[in-house]
Symmetry: C2
Subunit: 582 residues, 2 copies
């Protein structure tokens, strides 16, 4: 038996017990006459003590020689600590060691196994198995487990069945790129790894499974932006005989359950906002509503004066920065520089200081009087002491720029509090998105998303205006889930494919099995998928998904620990009937 | 709202309620003046009624025209049935329909959606989404969900953390063949799909995760034997600071929990048997102990007479077939033919009838007298009325043949009862297995399996005799789980690699990251992996894993529903820097 207690278990009530502990040497403090060794495992740290009076000389010297991260087993007696440590649960006791066995040595780790390590990101990823010994990483993984257990418990109790769908499926040119898997048994043919189980979950609805979910890995071979992973995990869900309202209620319930179980938060009903309103008020389809700073549109009050920059703009919009009237000229200049960075791309910024005495001081006093500026303040909901920042130009670009500025300022002002959770449903997404390069429409969500009732005709006349039964769940400015009511009618589906530029033959080749299935009595259905990595990170009060994945890949899609991907040998290629052609 | 009740919910207590139901038309019985329609969903079947007296004519005729599998929504009133059906939970009531809406039509399904369908395996697989509507398949998938939920609940409550390990890993030539995944971003390089998360779970132990589990897909590109799948699901587990006893106890606990939750069975402690005993008594390392018929070894009592077939055999062994003394000559001849089939491969079979009067009648009476045969009966534990079947020859072959005969006879005698569960631990597996073709040893379990304490020296002198800290959990003659205590000492690991024929360079190239990790204080650890597909099938009282997989592949590794694998287009190949070379 390696242990009868963990290193986090012993308390004052255990004093006098004989215990066996196993774990890693966390720290050795050698005072000569007394040696303290902290022994660590997943559950905590216990202080071991060896001293001149009570410890045989050989044992004392063995303890003195213990290196960090050595794996040891000890037997000893729990005793009261002379100087208690109220900061750790085992702080009242220590263990007077009678026997010490070294189970495994450790060479010097490349970084310290401490909450605040001296190791940089690269070295910690290469030695991820050591990084995981650190509380911040270990706790994140345990937190992830807790969240997924709660998801499964909740959905299962709500009658959802977790069904495993296949990983070796078929490549479709649609959407982001598939990873493919050559088949040895079927020469020259390839499986594909799923980008999502979308078609399978719809087939399960055709199959009468009624309520499906799955926590499942998905794969996307796309150029990796920061904090994207080529393999990622979804909570994938689908329900039959539902309308949008049923789905929103079901998964609002799940999210409330998680906030309650994980943080003890009782949530009110989640607010809902249309996509159009989200874009108008926040310039963003995933607004962070932990704070205000909604956009005020100023066209009506700022145009038709002599300021040509505004007059020629499609949109003039501003936000009120709380307390910003006190910014110095230098600080404001820096803010102007910030919005002009290529990543943001604004040409310039107009500002208005709302002075405490009710007067205004702006960068465009030449063109606007106090009365004009008072209207701006009203439109942006600015109060005395605030700074109004105004951007202008093309509507979409201006909204994106102002949204970036809003987020940046909120970050600086400490308004994006990690322990505050502000969920929001964004609904009524456009069905189609115009690809301006090719001047073709593609599905904003995916090609099975149903248009809003009565809007099918618009597809012919004004496809960009058609709204979908599609919705996102947004949490603290991040899209954590998204879904739609699907098309279950094969005529409507055929119309959709036509508008997405598929010939009937192409549609059949790619989605034939789904369209075939829909001939046999497909029920009305819809669903949602949550990005688990991000959901867990945000619930954990953080934003970097990599910190919540045990063995993540870097931005080049490489696992630097195991050094993958790698070349494979010619024999293996030959069996797969493949040649590498660089 | 599509429904306010499911089709399995309504009872006598709901009589007079107004209800809305949605589902599929299961059956229409048209008596002219009255039409009954069974409406079906995941939860059950409810009888709808339309009749001349109470139903408007148009509605009655609409009901008459309903085709099977049409998706409908109805509103109506729950009424008491005239002739109740005690065989279904909704059998006391029917719904008098006031409104009927057709939600979706169905063309004629290729087979009937009934428990006993007229559809063969091939057609059901092609239209799996329709097959899933059938209770036997649907119930299996729901059963699978229930089992996995219980696994997760139990392990989670026992302190295990589910950690997701990566799917895009690195190919190793070791063991069965990897599926590989070309990387677009890393030209000419490949990921591999995991055959198991073995190395990652060991790294998690090095990382201090202490107790890990994961229900995870694994992949093996090997020639498919019947009832194997290229992608399969494991319950993968690992624990640190454990000895074999700790693992057996932990997972015996899990298995008992499942038997209790799923079947209400309170299990006694599971018997344990060494590999050597299992081979000696059952000719099999996964004996079905729902019934006896243990082997009796007869060398001592059957050799050194004049029967040369036995005298020249390495092993003479028999089993007692309960009640077999009554078999006719013709039946016994058929049994002899059976063991001589190429799939079994015995040269012949000797038999002894144990007559009710205590005498014996054998096929070798020329060579053995009654006293000899009494000794055979004693050795095989045969009773009056039994038939002793005796095979002989090379030990391994004879055991395999006799094991096949034992299983066949048990099947015929109805001794393999699907609702009886007989778990068994088989322990002390050999560490190495001789590959007779190449005369080299390879790891029976895998190369990280630790030898039994004190047996390391045998590796030099008699490697085939070394026993491992390896164990299988057997249920009803199927290996449902297997594992081992791992080597955590890098010296022992190096010795193992040497005996497995790896040069230090080869070992480093393949397992370098694991061996590196072991330098930093690897704890003693061990684990087990359960084959979930098989576990669920056996707990479900069946043996075909395909019946418990939503979308299985056929014996050629093809998904006939989506027609995968398939060719991919040249553009995609070019991006991956690959050429197909048939």
């Amino acid at each position: 038996m390696y242990r009868n207690n963990t290193c986090g278990a012993l308390r004052a009530s255990d004093i006098d017990s004989e215990v066996i502990l196993s774990g890693w040497v966390h720290k050795v403090r050698d005072k000569g006459f007394v040696v303290w060794v902290d022994i660590r495992d997943r559950y905590g740290i216990t202080q071991l003590v060896f001293d001149e009076d009570r410890t045989p000389k050989a044992l004392l010297s063995k303890a003195t020689g213990l290196g960090r991260e050595t794996v040891i087993q000890i037997k000893g007696q729990v005793i009261e600590r002379a100087s208690k440590n109220p900061n750790i649960p085992t702080g009242d006791i220590e263990v007077l060691v009678a026997e010490l066995q070294i189970l495994n040595e450790s060479i010097l780790p490349p970084f310290t196994i401490e909450d605040n390590t001296d190791g940089g990101e690269d070295i910690r990823m290469k030695y991820r198995y050591l990084d995981i010994r650190r509380n911040p990483v270990k706790d994140n993984l345990i937190f992830r487990h807790k969240v997924t257990m709660e998801v499964r418990k909740y959905l299962s109790e709500e009658g959802f069945i977790e069904v495993e769908t296949p990983y070796l499926i078929k490549s479709t040119p649609e959407g982001a790129r598939d990873f493919v898997v050559p088949s040895r048994m079927n020469e020259g043919q390839f499986y594909a790894l799923p980008q999502s189980p979308q078609t399978f979950k719809q087939l399960l609805m055709v199959g009468g499974m009624d309520k499906y979910f799955q926590i499942v890995k998905c794969f996307r071979d796309e150029d990796l932006r920061a904090d994207r992973q080529p393999e990622f995990t979804q909570i994938d869900c689908e329900m039959a005989f539902v309308e949008q309202e049923d789905i929103l209620n079901a998964f609002e319930g799940l999210t409330k359950h998680l906030l309650k179980e994980v943080h003890g938060i009782e949530s009110k009903d989640f607010p809902r906002m249309t996509y159009d309103d989200a874009m108008r008020l926040y310039g963003n389809d995933k607004p962070d509503i932990r704070f205000g700073m909604e956009f005020g549109e100023l066209n009506a009050v700022a145009q038709h004066k002599d300021f040509n920059v505004f007059n020629s703009a499609e949109l003039v919009a501003g936000i009120a920065v709380p307390g910003g009237a006190s910014y110095t000229r230098k600080e404001i200049d820096k803010l102007v520089d910030w919005v002009r960075r290529p990543q943001v791309g604004a040409k310039g910024m107009v500002y208005v200081k709302c002075n405490e005495d009710g007067t205004f001081k702006s960068s465009v006093d030449k063109f606007y009087d106090q009365e004009d500026l008072a209207k701006w303040a009203e439109a942006t909901n600015a109060k005395a002491g605030d700074l109004i920042c105004v951007l202008s130009g093309n509507t979409n670009e201006t909204r994106a720029q102002l949204s970036a500025l809003r987020m940046e300022l909120a970050e600086r002002l400490g308004l994006r509090k990690p322990n505050v959770f502000a969920p929001l449903w964004v609904i009524d997404f456009p069905l189609l998105e115009l690809d301006e390069e090719t001047d073709t429409y593609h599905a904003m969500h995916h090609p099975f998303t149903s248009p809003k009732p009565g809007q099918l005709e618009l597809l012919e006349t004004n496809p960009g205006e058609v709204k979908a039964n599609a919705y996102d769940l947004v949490l603290n400015g991040n899209e954590i889930g998204g879904g739609s009511i699907r098309i279950h009618d094969k005529e409507i589906q055929a119309t959709m494919f036509k508008h997405l530029g598929f010939t009937p033959e192409e549609a059949k080749a790619q989605f034939g099995f789904l369209m075939d299935a829909f001939q046999y009595g497909a029920p009305p259905h819809g669903g949602i998928a949550f990005g688990l990595d991000r959901l867990v990170a945000i619930l954990g009060g953080q934003e970097t998904i990599r910190d919540f994945i045990a063995f993540p890949k870097n931005n080049s899609g490489r696992d630097v620990m195991i050094d993958a991907p790698a070349t494979i040998d010619d024999e293996q290629l030959k069996e797969l009937h493949l040649k590498v052609d660089l």
